[in-house]
């Protein structure tokens, strides 16, 4: 099959100019950071025990948050995409609400629900002795709260694109719902799944407001890179720059590593090619 690349010669000048402005807008802040970077101090700041701890906490919690988002978010996205039930639009709005909620408010809301005196938190404490605030688990909870919507949105949109006849076909061939999901649906949405996973991980990695509100800030336990960076900004702006650099480097490496192959690929081809 031949693909003709119609209209792929050169973008119009105006679009190019505006796109250039957009790129500049994204790039300049990073250029600014690099410009002011105290390169001679990079080694010593990153070698600092507290910084390494913050980086470790950040990586551990954000990866865990992405995994939890995946485990809970994919079934949610599937239910939202495949089943028409009363109140579905409410559920959908609810599961993406934390995206628009100021993270600090989200943190307070988490207190009211999962805190020591919270609606559910008090039972967690009383029955199981589990307290989430001021723990690493609390950081993960805060991150999942703000990060999962990215995964749910991305995956749900992709699942809706999957031709329902694939599921029908698989079932008539004897596939159980699980087989259908695993061998047909999931591969079809794999690019979206990975994109959603990366987005939610990135959101978790950068999470600040809900984390400092709900989980507090204790080096080695709940102090993540964004928290350490924020505090460093007040006392030692140079080291804050170095911390930002570390955070940017890690994120950029991951985003670049996934490239268009994962993030830009169309989700789920549905049609049969004409002869």
């Amino acid at each position: 099959m031949t693909r003709r690349r119609v209209g792929q010669s050169r973008p119009p000048t105006l679009a190019l100019l505006l796109a250039g402005l957009a790129v500049a807008f994204f790039a300049l802040p990073f250029v600014g950071i690099l410009w002011r970077m105290p390169w001679s101090r990079v080694g010593s700041v990153l070698g600092d025990q507290a910084v390494r701890e913050a980086l470790r906490v950040s990586l551990e919690t954000s990866v865990l948050a992405a995994v939890v988002s995946l485990a809970l978010g994919v079934p949610l996205a599937w239910v939202l995409a495949q089943f028409d039930f009363p109140g579905r639009s409410i559920v959908r709005a609810l599961s993406t609400l934390s995206m628009v909620l100021p993270p600090v408010v989200g943190g307070v809301a988490l207190f009211f629900s999962f805190g020591r005196r919270g609606l559910f938190g008090q039972y967690l404490d009383r029955w199981f002795g589990i307290r989430l605030p001021f723990t690493t688990a609390g950081v993960v909870v805060a991150q999942v709260f703000v990060a999962m919507p990215f995964l749910v949105l991305t995956v749900e949109a992709a699942l809706r694109q999957v031709d329902p006849r694939f599921g029908d076909a698989a079932r008539t061939l004897g596939g159980s719902r699980w087989t259908v999901f695993r061998r047909v649906t999931l591969p079809a949405v794999r690019p979206a799944l990975i994109a959603g996973l990366v987005l939610s991980w990135a959101r978790a990695l950068g999470e600040f407001g809900a984390t400092i509100t709900f989980a507090g800030n204790l080096p080695g336990r709940t102090q993540t890179m964004p928290l350490a960076t924020y505090l460093a900004l007040e006392s030692d702006p140079e080291s804050a720059l170095v911390l930002s650099l570390a955070l940017i480097a890690v994120s950029f490496a991951v985003l670049l590593g996934l490239r268009d192959r994962w993030l830009g690929a169309p989700s789920g081809r549905t049609s049969v090619a004409a002869p």
Binding site: D168, T172, R183, V272, A273
Partner: protein
């Protein structure tokens, strides 16, 4: 073995209520316009949609009855345990799996080991001449090849009932004729119950032994192709086969239409509710009221002129709406135009009634 269908399904304002049977070894085409409920019947048979009323059962060779779906007794057999093979419209080949994996899917879902499932699938592909394409992706196949793969996938699980949903609709005209004869051969080789859903009478003619005509959720007519084309029982079928259909009450050799018009027929043996099929070639047109032996003469207005290769179809509406087929020369001679008043006549010998 035979498949007995008595299906009632209600979805919103659409109500489906159909009954028919399909014997093993015959191919039945479910023919009808879009929205008639053909796909609903297919989904119900496949187990992708549950009945609201009625029953679907399979009567085996020895007379044993297997109930697939009966709401009254709360019986429902899921698709995977019905022993069916379905070829979907556009084929619905899994885009992320290779051709081989597509064909092997049903076997693997049934717990057969991957290696032996693949071997069986390869054998099936070889048989339809696509062994070479086993490791291609579905989007690398031509339409005709995709159709064969879809059929091989459906047959891999050795079903007793084969359902095909518009198997040729995805193809262009040229490929279609080719695939049609190929499909006919393959269907003949399948010993079970064969049901094709189609809106195209040509496909039905080419592939089916019998047709079940579906209109607005119910069966308008069933029968062999000859029966249906010669004695259509609905406007849709008559249109499909290009006949004029008149329905009314036959009394003493005269068909009384619901509007009171009387149509004189050839014989007087029939009485009671009846249909009359009139071929367009037997309808004559005149600019003035004709004189002579024709007893069925009415006036009407030309509402449509459909020019075909060497024929013109003239639709006349009036007390008896009819389509006449004339030559282009006659069209010029009569100097006809849309909106004109014309006289139509049909000889009584062309009016042959059959019971409704």
């Amino acid at each position: 073995m035979r498949l007995l269908v008595d299906a009632q399904v209600t979805r919103g304002s659409f109500a489906l209520d159909v009954s028919f049977a399909v014997e093993a070894g015959e191919t039945v085409a479910l023919l009808g316009p879009n929205g008639a409920g053909k796909s609903t019947v297919l989904r119900v048979l496949a187990g992708l949609l549950a009945l609201d009323g009625g029953r679907i059962e399979v009567v085996g060779e020895g007379g044993g009855v297997t109930l697939w779906d009966e709401p009254a007794s709360d019986t429902f057999v899921p698709p995977e345990r019905r022993g069916i093979g379905v070829v979907f419209q556009d084929y619905a080949l899994f885009p992320n799996l290779s051709v081989l994996e597509n064909v092997a899917f049903g076997l693997r879902a049934r717990g057969i080991r991957a290696s032996s499932a693949r071997a069986t699938a390869l054998g099936l592909l070889d048989r339809v001449g696509l062994g070479e394409r086993a490791h291609n992706r579905p989007d690398q196949l031509s339409g005709g090849q995709a159709q064969r793969v879809a059929l091989a996938r459906a047959l891999a699980v050795e079903p007793s009932v084969l359902l095909l949903d518009e198997p040729l609709a995805a193809l262009d005209a040229l490929t279609r004729a080719e695939v049609r004869s190929d499909l006919r051969r393959q269907l003949a080789a399948f010993p079970g119950v064969r049901l094709i859903v189609t809106h195209d009478p040509v496909d039905a003619y080419a592939l089916a032994d019998r047709v079940v005509v579906l209109e607005q959720g119910s069966v308008a007519q069933t029968g062999t192709l000859d029966e249906v084309t010669m004695h259509p029982r609905s406007r849709y079928v008559a249109d499909l086969v290009g006949l004029n259909l008149l329905a009314g009450e036959m009394r003493a050799g005269v068909l009384h239409l619901p509007n009171g018009t009387q149509v004189v027929a050839a014989d007087s043996a029939l009485s009671g509710p009846a249909f009359v099929a009139v071929t367009p070639q037997s309808v004559a047109l005149h600019r003035r009221e004709p004189e002579g032996s024709a007893r069925n003469v009415w006036s009407g207005t030309v509402t449509d002129l459909d020019r075909r290769a060497d024929r013109v179809r003239v639709r006349v509406t009036g007390t008896v709406p009819l389509v006449a087929e004339i030559t282009p020369a006659a069209l010029i001679a009569l100097d006809l135009a849309v909106g004109q008043t014309v006289w139509i006549s049909v000889k009584a010998t062309e009016i042959i009634g059959y019971p409704a």
